[in-house]
Subunit: 313 residues, 2 copies
């Protein structure tokens, strides 16, 4: 086993993009070599800046991420991007946006972009995404962006596993934006009102401020950047705010907390995934047993856990 | 054990409200007697009409539920209400509304109302709620309403465990309603536009219709009732639509499916609750082991399941 992983591990450590791509694929397909690479990578994580970017479709999030990539590249940093493509009715266009971006950065070996598709269930996706981040971190990528369409609960979990979470909103998107705001006000470390030149831009900025005043927040009050990403306007300001949040984390031990949060999220995700698989098999029998009064749900859970263990390798 | 449960069980079967209240408390506090009562109750479930009612705070949901209770009482049915009071920033007023209602129906022994509070986590609340419904069903209550403020994922799960789910919307609530709509369009069996006389009432009705046309739906297209609950207007129509949905379920085997769905939800909830409790203890150690490269998240899950079983009674 180790002998087969060795050359790939060496190349991964050296930051070889094709090795990283291969390692992520191995992890995604649950290959034992992927697990071995990940184990080796773990102690080497914690160096990368991990920035989560979320926003409803059409918020110009991809264009904005592009601007952030360019800024990081201009600062001489190696950049990894993990983009999540959930099979959700809200995600239309994400894949296309990705393709365009991949073409743009294709010739720049300092930028690695990977699209993660849902593997049946978002639980598995969360783990796979965070594991890709860990591999990129260990491979020496300085900044890793996690980009997601932040509609579902699991996607929110993924993006909040970043050191810094940027929430992108746009004026005049109606329902989608409103829904989006309602669920994610609390997760933003930095807000970004993109398409700020559109009607309602400043109103949206004030609405965010008002909502913040109503809600609770800790020591850090998420600042609001205003951008016109398509013209590159305000992106430097957004970069500055993200850096300020990082400085705040450094001063408060928040970076190590975020690194641990990611692993916790992975463990929970792995657990959920495992049990979901097991439940599918025995669930109808379990329901019969409960309905007949033979077992309580708690006894079903005992039985289930016992079965899972018996089948463990 | 059985000897201590016997008198309570007899009274429960006879529909004694105080026995039902006591049984729910025993279940809520995870008392072995509660489990025993539930086991006995299971084979006797499946007779009650279970209706879920959800809507954002301020939608007049409580007043509407009151109207539904009155209609069921006028038809000579015994009514149980399980109201969920999540400790959410969105739930303000739920408890007060409940108190007013309890006073109104206090002298009517054909109405049983129980408020379920969150027990730390909604996972446990989901199970406790569905177990209260099962007890009411076995105790001969003809109609059981599950009322919830439908903001969170877990609350949506609870309310969709009903045979029929009524989603209450109100014109002019701005963000809250919009957010609400976005997440719950798919779960409604019957829509209810309450405060229909307020500005935007008919527009909201048309928006729901338009959203339905965009989305997917099966054979049943959720009808839209329009009500002014405070004046009792339209409530009879809502009752008729709920009855029609039930007739549709009866014709398609949907009632048994709903009964099984509730038990499945209970089993999942019990499993989640159990693992959450276990995770809390060992989680930081697990994170250390993963970060050090000693264990993979999957191996942590194996260890965790083993620990859980070793500690099983």
């Amino acid at each position: 086993m180790d002998t087969r992983v060795e050359p790939l591990w060496e190349r991964l450590l050296a930051g070889d993009e094709r090795a990283v791509a291969r390692a992520i694929t191995l992890v995604e397909s649950d290959d034992p070599r992927g697990r071995e690479l990940l184990k080796r990578a773990r102690p080497r994580t914690g160096r990368a800046t991990v920035v989560g970017i979320t926003g409803s479709p059409g918020s110009g999030k991809s264009t904005l991420t592009d601007g952030l990539i360019a800024a990081a590249r201009a600062a001489g940093r190696k950049v990894g991007v993990v983009a999540i493509d959930p099979t959700s009715p809200f995600s239309g266009g994400a894949i296309l946006g990705d393709r365009i971006r991949m073409t743009r950065w294709h010739t720049d070996s300092g930028v690695f972009i990977r699209s993660m598709a849902t593997r049946g269930h978002l639980g598995g996706l969360a783990a796979a995404t965070l594991q890709a981040v860990a591999l990129l971190d260990a491979a020496g990528f300085d900044t890793v962006f996690i980009e997601t369409v932040g509609v579902g609960q699991s996607e929110v979990e993924i993006v909040t596993a970043a050191d810094t979470t940027v929430v992108v909103l746009t004026p005049g998107q109606g329902d989608a934006v409103q829904a989006f705001k309602a669920g994610i006000m609390e997760i933003a470390d930095v807000f970004c009102v993109n398409k700020y030149d559109h009607p309602g831009g400043d109103r949206l900025r004030r609405e965010i401020r008002a909502a913040q005043e109503l809600g609770e927040h800790g020591e850090w009050l998420a600042p609001v950047a205003t951008t016109i990403a398509s013209q590159g306007e305000g992106v430097a300001d957004l970069v500055r705010l993200v850096d300020e949040h990082r400085a705040y984390l450094v001063a408060n031990g928040g970076l190590e907390a975020a690194r641990r949060r990611r692993v916790r999220s992975e463990v929970r995700s792995a657990l959920g995934e495992r049990l979901r698989r097991e439940l599918v098999d025995g669930e109808e029998e379990a329901v019969d047993a409960v309905l007949a009064g033979r077992l309580s749900p708690e006894e079903v859970v005992d039985d289930l856990l016992r079965d899972v263990l018996l089948r463990s390798p």
